[in-house]
């Protein structure tokens, strides 16, 4: 099969199970949002896919072959973390180039795309700046350029736009979608903001329960790149929450199971 297949049987931290039976399948080019309350193992799941943590029971494959092996992260993978995580002693340009180091070591004729990507995210005239001299939004742009400079087939994003003001966040989301349009990576986008998930993704997976698992696989109607504050997103959100009132707390209880519970209690 083509694309990404994640099958986790169990992931434990210090003897405590943080991820239970968990299966995610995704096609190349798909944009998938992972939504769930904090502590639901969203970030953990991403670090397993990224090959940053290999201590789990399960398989993660890409086109049928193991995605990463022996502590080595997959090739053509871009990643954005909750913080920009730039090296403060490297200029914006050198930070992006750092992600190309592996490619440069392998292919001596390789021409760096770092400057072009910084240009594309609107930082063409800030390439020589140190991260300390950039605003929070600009630092994330550098991190975004770094994620795309490796020409990712797989893009992992761990709440990358959290704690930004709405206009800055919107600009970054537009930049992200524009870059995705060209390179068509498979995106796993972790967020706790349901509106952000519904506005960006093709499909939203809800994590929750203990131990955490994928509770609900929800296809999103309409094209990517909706406005977070649009009526379309608001009504989609309302419809979901009307059906599963405690979805964002990690509990899947639709009207029917509520009724069952009431009967049990009576």
């Amino acid at each position: 099969m083509s694309g990404l297949r994640i099958h986790i049987r169990e992931k434990r931290f210090d003897g405590k199970t943080v991820l239970g039976e968990c299966t995610v399948e995704a096609e190349p080019g798909e944009f998938i949002a992972l939504v769930g309350p904090s502590g639901a193992g969203k970030s953990t799941l991403l670090s397993l896919v990224a090959g940053l943590d290999e201590d789990y029971d399960g398989e993660i494959t890409w086109n049928g072959a193991p995605l990463s092996n022996h502590g080595e992260s997959p090739a053509h993978m871009g990643m954005m973390f909750q913080e920009p995580r730039l090296m403060p002693w490297l200029s914006a340009l050198d930070n992006v180039k750092l992600a190309e180091a592996e490619r440069m070591a392998r292919d001596h004729d390789y021409q760096s795309n770092a400057a072009r990507l910084l240009e594309e995210v609107g930082l063409g005239d800030a390439t020589d700046f140190w991260p300390n001299h950039l605003s929070g939004g600009m630092q994330r742009r550098v991190a975004l350029a770094r994620a795309f400079v490796v020409e990712p087939q797989l893009l992992l994003m761990d709440e990358p736009f959290v704690s930004l003001d709405m206009p800055t966040g919107n600009r970054l989301r537009r930049s992200l979608l524009r870059l995705c349009e060209r390179q068509r990576p498979l995106v796993l986008f972790v967020t706790h903001d349901l509106r952000e998930a519904l506005a960006l993704a093709d499909r939203v997976l809800f994590l929750g329960d203990t131990p955490a698992r994928v509770m609900l696989d929800h296809p999103v109607e309409g094209a990517r790149g909706k406005d977070l504050e649009s009526a379309e997103v608001a009504s989609a959100q309302q419809a979901l929450l009307a059906r599963y009132p405690q979805l964002l707390s990690g509990i899947l209880d639709n009207a029917r199971s509520d009724a069952d519970e009431d009967e049990d209690n009576a």
Binding site: M79, P88, L90, N132
Partner: protein, 248 residues
């Protein structure tokens, strides 16, 4: 701002020389010659070529011992900071190394390896390595795993990771180790020369001590202090500025 700093530094040095002159005038004794007498002696020793000769030899020993101590100490410090098991194994030896008197190391090195430069430099380096290890280990423990995760996620080659992700986080600790290291090594090299070499500033000081030539002792000390200040101003401070530019 920059000029004010230079002025303050100069004024403090001039004040020190003035104080010296005043005390020498009050003492009026051969035991404390004044700054001018020492300056004449310094010029004399320099023109005869003997001071530059011994100074260069001492500086060479300082440089070799310093580089050796920094390289070995940094390597051991990084390893001990990153691997808890090895830290446990070597911690006892480290505490021992920190507390062995310099004189013991020096005498033992001379006894074991003979009265030669290898023994001399080894003795100096051995005295310094443990303190470098302690400081670098502290830095290696403080290295941010989040930044290392970035390097891992982007498959940054090991050497590039070391140079661009790992070592920059150690620079403040390495600068601290280098500074305190130079200060310690200057001092120990002279003792090593006094005890078992037939050249170098330490050997000369020993000679002057036997002749009760206080003026020459101060002249050599002055030359030495001059070199230390020069190294600090020309090498250490610009290097530190360069490495920490991004903080501004």
């Amino acid at each position: 701002m920059k000029w004010q700093q230079v002025l303050v530094r100069a004024a403090s040095l001039i004040g020190l020389v003035l104080l010296w002159q005043i005390v020498a005038l009050i003492a009026k004794s051969d035991v404390l010659p004044g700054p001018l007498a020492v300056l004449y002696s310094l010029i004399e020793h320099t023109l005869s070529g003997e001071l530059p000769y011994h100074l260069v030899i001492t500086l060479a020993r300082v440089a070799v011992a310093f580089l050796m101590a920094m390289a070995i100490g940094t390597a051991i410090g990084i390893i001990m900071g990153r691997y808890k098991q090895l830290d446990l194994v070597f911690d006892g030896a480290l505490v021992l190394g920190l507390n062995i008197p310099a004189l013991v190391t020096i005498i033992l090195c001379y006894l074991w390896f003979g009265l030669n430069d290898v023994a001399a430099i080894l003795a100096v380096a051995l005295n310094k390595i443990p303190t470098v290890v302690v400081m670098v280990r502290e830095g290696a423990r403080a290295v941010d795993p989040k930044l290392l995760a970035v390097a891992q996620a982007y498959r940054v080659p090991k050497l590039v990771t070391l140079r661009r992700v790992f070592l920059p986080q150690l620079y403040p600790y390495l600068m601290g180790a280098a500074r305190s290291g130079l200060a310690l090594i200057w001092k120990i090299v002279l003792v090593v020369e006094l005890l078992g070499r037939s050249n170098g500033v330490g050997f000369q000081l020993h000679l002057f001590y036997q002749f009760f030539d206080i003026t020459s002792i101060l002249a050599y000390t002055l030359a030495f202090a001059g070199v230390v200040l020069l190294v600090e101003a020309v090498v250490m401070r610009p290097l530190e500025d360069r490495l920490t530019r991004w903080r501004t």
